[in-house]
């Protein structure tokens, strides 16, 4: 292996690579934020919603969770574009957000249901309204409970973003392939991409554990 040549190719491709990494981080980051918010809505509907609301959300959830992310991405791009004009970025963002919300929703639902009934009763007993009970009593406990799985979801999402290459979102994976088309060093460049993904996911994991430790309740 000729490393000098590789590094010179890498140097030539540096801006493209950085842009690719940037796109991966941006689209994953936005999807995590939006997906989490939507996921909170999903969980609330499942736990506190009326029958109709529960049925609709549950159907949506089953559909999303029973579909490969890859298919979800294609569906968002090709199916939705029959209705509205979407850029690959927008379609990809929708797909990842939906994917994220299904995981967060299911996970948070479990966490909420696992809270002892006595917590709600105690909150009611001192006169808190339901929104207050949720905000000050239930959510802080459920979110703590849901955090480990949420960290996993975030890392999964970054990995799932590689599939966006198929609809032409120029994130790290597609960038790498484009670079390889010009500078045919697949081994080195794919390895590099793998390393970057690993570092991103590893950082998320570490950061998550640090947060977990910080908010852990003393006992």
């Amino acid at each position: 292996m000729d490393f000098t040549r590789f590094f010179s190719d890498l140097y030539t491709a540096r801006f493209a690579l950085l842009e690719g990494i940037g796109m991966t981080l941006i689209i994953s980051g936005i999807a995590i934020v939006l997906g989490t918010l939507l996921g909170i809505g999903v969980a609330l509907s499942l736990v506190y919603g009326g029958r109709v609301q529960r049925f609709i959300v549950r159907t949506f959830l089953e559909y999303v969770r029973g579909t490969p992310v890859f298919v979800l991405i294609l569906a968002c791009y090709y199916l939705l574009s029959t209705v509205i004009q979407l850029t690959p970025f927008q379609a990809g963002l929708i797909a990842l957000t939906v994917f994220c919300s299904s995981h967060v929703g299911e996970n948070l639902r479990g966490a909420l249901l696992a809270l002892p009934k006595g917590q709600t009763e105690a909150a009611k007993a001192i006169g808190l309204t339901f929104p207050q009970t949720f905000a000050y009593v239930l959510a802080p406990q459920a979110l703590r409970q849901a955090l480990p799985a949420w960290i996993n979801t975030a890392a999964e999402l970054v990995k799932a973003s590689t599939l966006l290459a198929v609809i032409g979102v120029v994130e790290l994976m597609l960038t790498t392939r484009q670079i390889i088309a010009l500078k045919p060093r697949p081994l080195e460049f794919y390895f590099l991409a793998g390393l970057v993904y690993f570092l991103i996911c590893f950082s998320i994991e570490r950061l998550g554990r640090a947060v977990e430790r910080r908010i852990a309740l003393p006992s």
Binding site: G118, A122, A123, A125, Y136, V137, Q141
Partner: protein
Amino acid sequence: MSQPVLEIPVLEILGLHKKFKEIEVLKGVDLSMATGDVVSIIGSSGSGKTTMLRCVNLLEDFQQGSIRIDGEEIGYTAAPERRRRKESEIARQRSMTGMVFQQFNLFPHMTALGNVTLGLLKVKKLPKAEATAIAEKWLERVGMAERRNHFPGQLSGGQQQRVAIARAIAMNPKVMLFDEVTSALDPELVNEVLNVIKSLAADGMTMLLVTHEMKFAYEVSRRVVFMNQGRIEEQGAPEQVFRNPQSTRLAEFLKNAKF
């Protein structure tokens, strides 16, 4: 001790009926308490005593009858038609009573102080300094001032229950409700909680207690109510109820109860 006739009862339960699906657990309960009254409800499990207490706190709905606190009809409108009140209204009425639970139900993610101030800040909307002062006063009163910054997980059962008492009473309720508050405690921790309740009773707090601690009920109550199968079977001064039961069921119950 006879109460003046004109005084409005602080708690008045009239013809309370409660059904869980088809099963009728309260079959017309009447109970009236004056300010400073301490009433213990005894009876076997399934007699409806806890359910009645939970109705007073509106944690259970009820199908017939009325509950008044300080003359105010709670939970439902009486006229022109019986309708459940709005949730915000119910929340406000709940804060007129203070409830202490068998399982403490402290909020595990908040310190002892945080548990007590939550209602003061969010329900009473007091400024933080004032809420903290009130909370500290009550934590002091239940002997938990030193541990105000401890989380529930760092406290013993008895300590948690004392914090729970402070949390309820800090809201300045008209009536305190105690639902078998020592049943989940290790035997050696029971007394520290009972002593707190006794001292609150001595201070004139109006209290309605469901308890299995007969000796405690005897010592602390002004009146003891025996419930059986969803009805009040017998009530009276503790000496009378415990030493001279009229109904055979009460006599039977007392024979098997531990003192």
